[in-house]
């Protein structure tokens, strides 16, 4: 009877998990495609990378306009609350599914010390805003574009659209940025298919199960408690690295 229960539970869990994965996949496929990047180990190039990114923003957005960098930053700071106050944009896009959405958004490892040494506070703040995947990515920029279209003042509307375009171009520039050796600073990683991720998680679970069984067996009468814990920790660790 117990064996039948265990077999039934295992099969049910696999079906549930497959169902959950399908729902997640359906959600993700309904979202705009976001770039997924792997960070290069070369952090020495940050200074030139950051300067070129900043230059592009201001050249693209404010070229021909009589506006200095400080005014531009003030403008961006004023613009940000207006956008972020539309909390539904962020909430609907990210919060309920944040851990899943996060794994598919652009991620940057920022060497904060290097950045702080080379940039002023305002520049640092702008770079963080620009590189922060939670606030600036393709879907968020599209949302800003939509908001900008509602601005009645023609000049102001054009300015906002220019800024958004500049940030988009900057992101593209970051993607294509190369080191002095001609190697890509960021590499685009191949995203695993849904089936591969599912198979990978199942294999992680099996590996964890083997460890759980072995350690459960050699740890004595507390095995029913020790085995699940070992399985979970090993499976989660393997899955985090492999999947």
């Amino acid at each position: 009877m117990k064996r039948i229960f265990v077999l039934f539970a295992s099969v049910s869990l696999l079906f549930f998990y497959q169902g959950c994965n399908k729902e997640n996949a359906d959600y993700l496929s309904s979202q705009p495609e976001l770039p997924y990047l792997e960070h290069s180990s070369n952090v020495k190039e940050y200074k030139s990378f950051v300067s070129s990114s900043l230059n592009i923003i201001f050249q693209e957005a404010f070229d021909g306009e009589n506006i200095n960098e400080e005014q531009a930053l003030i403008f961006l700071d004023n613009l940000k609350p207006q956008i972020l106050n539309k909390t539904d944009l962020k909430t609907v896009s990210y919060l309920p599914f944040y851990p899943i959405a996060r794994s598919n958004t652009t991620e940057f490892q920022i060497d904060e010390k290097t950045l702080m040494e080379n940039l002023t506070n305002n520049q640092y703040s702008l770079v963080l805003k620009m590189l922060n995947s939670e606030t600036i990515n393709s879907s968020f920029l599209d949302a800003i574009r939509m908001e900008a279209l509602l601005i009645t003042d023609k000049a102001e509307r054009q300015l906002v659209l220019d800024i958004v375009d500049a940030i988009s171009i900057t992101i593209e520039e970051i993607l294509s940025y190369t080191t002095s050796d001609g190697e890509s600073y960021f590499t685009r990683s191949r995203q695993k298919s849904k089936g591969e991720v599912f198979a990978c998680n199942v294999v992680s679970g099996v590996v964890g199960g083997i460890f759980g069984f072995v350690f459960g067996t050699i740890s004595g009468p507390a095995a029913p408690v020790v085995a699940p814990v070992v399985t979970t920790l090993v499976a989660a660790t393997v899955s985090t690295y492999a999947c």
């Binding site: 117990k2 539970a9 869990l13 998990y17 199960g209 020790v226 699940p228 985090t240």
Partner: protein, 117 residues
């Protein structure tokens, strides 16, 4: 003592039921991945409880019980910490807690092997 050993055997069944329900409810979160692993672990735990490993008399040993308790406590902290950093283990704190957990697991195994002989 009999009650205690029955209680330990009973835990995986209850947890399996709860985690299965949670897995079904939390379909849109990283927690479903974790619960999947927890559930597999519980199935393993139930299989081991059927197999009946070791003498229940060992549960009388105070040191053994303390090590098991500390191992479970540190492991739950490790899982919680991993969830807090959105299912990542690269965090230094996570690695430290995992190391502590592994140490207690080793102590449990060593104590059991010593008591058995």
């Amino acid at each position: 003592m009999k009650k205690q050993s029955q209680f330990i055997r009973f835990i995986p069944y209850v947890l399996l039921l709860v985690s299965t329900i949670l897995l079904y409810v939390n379909s849109h979160s990283a927690i479903n991945k974790l619960l999947f692993f927890v559930s597999i672990g519980l199935v393993v735990g139930i299989l081991l409880s059927i197999k009946d490993t070791g003498s229940k008399m060992i549960l009388k040993d105070k040191k053994y019980r303390i090590y098991v308790f500390l191992f479970v406590l540190s492991s739950i902290s490790a899982i919680g910490s991993m969830m807090f950093t959105l299912f990542e283990i690269s965090n230094v704190l996570n690695i430290i807690i995992l190391a502590v957990s592994a140490t207690f697991l080793l102590l449990v195994v060593i104590r059991y092997q010593r008591l058995r002989h």
